[in-house]
Structures are given as C-alpha cells and as structure tokens.
C-alpha cells in the first residue's frame, strides 16, 4: 500500500466512527458542540500519531506475550502529556472534555491501530496511518458536534445561525447524541451503497 492510500484509508474507507464504529464513548460524550468535538478529535489524533510512531519503533524489542500491556503504557504516557498540556494552555477546553481525556487510553481506535497497523509497519507509514485515522476521527466528531449544536442550540462553531429559542434542546442532551449519530451513520450507509 502506498503512503497516500495509507493516509486516506482512515479518512474515508475505514473511517473509525462511521465505518468501523470504534471509539464510541468520546464520540457521544463530548460532541455537544463542534468545537468540543474538534478538540477531542485533535487530542486523539496527537496520541494516535505519536503512539503509532513509538510502537513501530519498539515493537521488535517487546516480547510478544506482554505486547498489549506494553502498548497500553506507551499510549497512557502520551495521553498524560496531552492531558497536562491541555490543562496548562487550554483550560476551558480541558474542563469541557473532563474525564474523556484520560479515557483516550481505553479508546479502542488507539490500541486497535497499534495492534493492527503500527506493530507490523515501519515508522513513516505508521505515522501516516495515525494521522489519517486521527483526522478521520476528528472530522467525524466535528461533523457530529456541528449537527448537534445546530439542531440543539441554533449555532455552528458558536456562531449563532438562528434564535436559540427554536433549538431542539434534546440534541445537546444525552438522547440526542445517540439519535444524531444513528441517523448520520444511516446517511453514510446510504451513500456508500449508492
């Protein structure tokens, strides 16, 4: 597989949210607005790129039997870095994302890519795979966040589109997350088959 197709693979064909259905917890939890979705996506993207890079380097040193705990420790280290940087430079976003930042550790996408791709490939393709998957994740989260924000509070990226009084509050509350994602996946399925 060429580098370009490695990169675009995660963006569309194997989009982690709409096609693989991985990493559902942050997807549903933080997408009350487009900005939160994008922030979460970029944080995950950063962890994905660096953990894929690190794992592709050390994969030959780690004995096969304990590779999963090894990967998890590497991932947890990068998540801690993101957590601390975000707390220092973007305290508002850090507060909005809350517990979902440490939970990037148990996001199935990160461990999934480590096991399925980075452990078998060289450094550069692994980083591209992380970048593609991460951007695919970010795009999906931003899209879902924008849809919920638009329907729920009449804004997109905090820019008012119509009066908040006409917004359907349910879409920024918990049930709206499930409903919006359900219908978005249905739309994606429709286009995929057409």
């Amino acid at each position: 597989m060429s580098n370009l197709s490695t990169f675009t693979n995660g963006l569309f064909k194997e989009n982690p949210i709409f096609v693989l259905l991985l990493g559902m917890c942050p997807t549903l939890g933080v997408t009350t607005s487009a900005v939160n979705g994008a922030g979460m996506g970029l944080a995950t993207c950063f962890v994905l790129i660096l953990s894929n890079l690190a794992i592709s380097w050390v994969t030959n040193i780690i004995p096969d039997k304990i590779r999963i705990p090894g990967y998890i420790v590497i991932i947890a280290a990068f998540v801690t870095i993101v957590d601390m940087c975000m707390a220092a430079y973007l305290p508002g976003l850090h507060a909005a994302l809350g517990i979902y930042i440490p939970l990037i550790v148990v996001n199935c996408i990160v461990l999934g890519r480590a096991e399925a791709f980075a452990s078998k490939n060289k450094a550069l393709p692994s980083m591209l795979d992380g970048l593609g998957m991460g951007l695919g994740f970010t795009l999906s989260l931003t899209l879902l966040g924008a849809v919920r924000e638009f329907l729920g509070s009449g804004k997109v990226f905090s820019i008012p589109v119509y009066s908040e009084d006409y917004g359907m509050l349910i879409f920024v509350l918990a049930p709206g997350a499930f409903l919006a994602l359900g219908y978005l996946i249905a739309v994606v399925n429709r286009f995929k088959k057409a």
Binding site: P102, P175, G176, A177
Partner: protein, 190 residues
C-alpha cells in the same frame, strides 16, 4: 440514607451508559442476547467494584504521599489490566462454573472505559472508601440494567422489518437514544 440516594442517583439518574456515555462499546457489542448481557453485567460489576477499591487504595497510599498524581492514568490502567488477568486466573482455579459463565467477557473488560472512568471519578469526587465502593457497585449495576434492557429490546428488534440503510448500527443507536430519553424521566428525583 446517603448511600441509598447515591445508589438511586448512579443507577437511574446519572446512568453510566445512557447519561454519561461510558462503556458504549460493550453496550453495543454484547447486547444481542439477554443471557450474554447478564453474563457481561455480572463480570463488569465484579471487576469495577474490585478495581475501584484497589485503585482507591493505591491513590491514597502511593500516588498522594509521593506526590506523583500525574502518574494516575498510567498507574490505574496497569492496575486494571493486571487485576482482570488475575481475576481470570483465580476464577479458573477456584470456581470453574463461574469462570465458564464470565470467562469470555473478562479480557474485554480491560478496554471497557467504565472501569477506568469510575476509578478516576471516585478520586475526582473525593469520596471516602465506603462511598467509593457504593458508588462503584451501583454504577456497575446501572450499566448492567441498561445493558439487559437494551438486549431485551434488540432481541425483539431482530425480528422487525427495518429499511436497508438503517440495519445494524443506526437502528441500535436510535433505540439507545429512545432508551436514554426514557431514563431522562428519572432526572430530578435525587
């Protein structure tokens, strides 16, 4: 009384799956049949309660005194991974019948974000040990309740005639959305 309120809040009002979006993967993944959902719920309740006790003790006796709170994520995930493995080994030896029932679900639990989520939440909310145990157990029961109800609905859903594009994930998510709406009815009780 405090514990009863905490129990109701964690099971119904702030249901971990339907209100806080943790543990969605097993919620969607192992909810095809009620019997497997019950097995998963049992295993999760057991592991969450145990993991919360251990991580709580580690936080108070190791991370806090040495002021290495920034190692929390790394320490907790390692503890949980090791604990799950240990529970699996012990169950296999001590109670083969229980192992038969829960065994398949145990490896899946390491990456269930409820376990790490509850362990971190308990520290953030500054609960004491007893409160933590009650909170962990009732949160896990809430997870089990949501999972079993959802599995029951999906068993019926499998027989329904669903439009092609909506099959699988979309219709499951919309069902979960309606279930979450029902659980919203509990808000304000506590």
């Amino acid at each position: 009384m405090e514990y009863i309120l905490m129990f109701i809040a964690a099971v119904f009002v702030n249901n971990i799956v339907l209100a806080q979006f943790l543990g969605i993967c097993p919620f969607l993944g192992v909810s095809q049949r009620v019997s497997t959902a019950l097995g998963m719920a049992g295993a999760v309740t057991f592991v969450i309660t145990l993991a919360t006790i251990v991580t709580f003790i580690v936080q108070k006796t190791v991370l806090d005194p040495f002021q290495i709170g920034f190692m929390q994520t790394i320490a907790f995930i390692l503890i949980i991974a090791a604990l799950v493995q240990m529970v699996e080994i012990i169950l296999k030896k001590v109670s083969p019948s229980l192992y038969q029932a829960l065994g398949v679900f145990l490896p899946l639990i390491t990456t269930n974000c409820t376990v790490l989520g509850v362990a971190i939440m308990v520290i953030q909310k500054e609960y004491n040990l007893m409160q933590s145990v009650v909170f962990a157990a009732s949160t896990a029961l809430g997870f089990g309740l949501a999972l079993v109800i959802f599995a029951g609905i999906r068993e019926q859903l499998a027989l329904a005639d669903i439009p092609k594009g909506m099959k699988g994930a979309p219709v499951s998510l919309i069902t979960a959305g309606i279930l979450a709406m029902a659980f919203m009815g509990f808000s304000g009780i506590v």
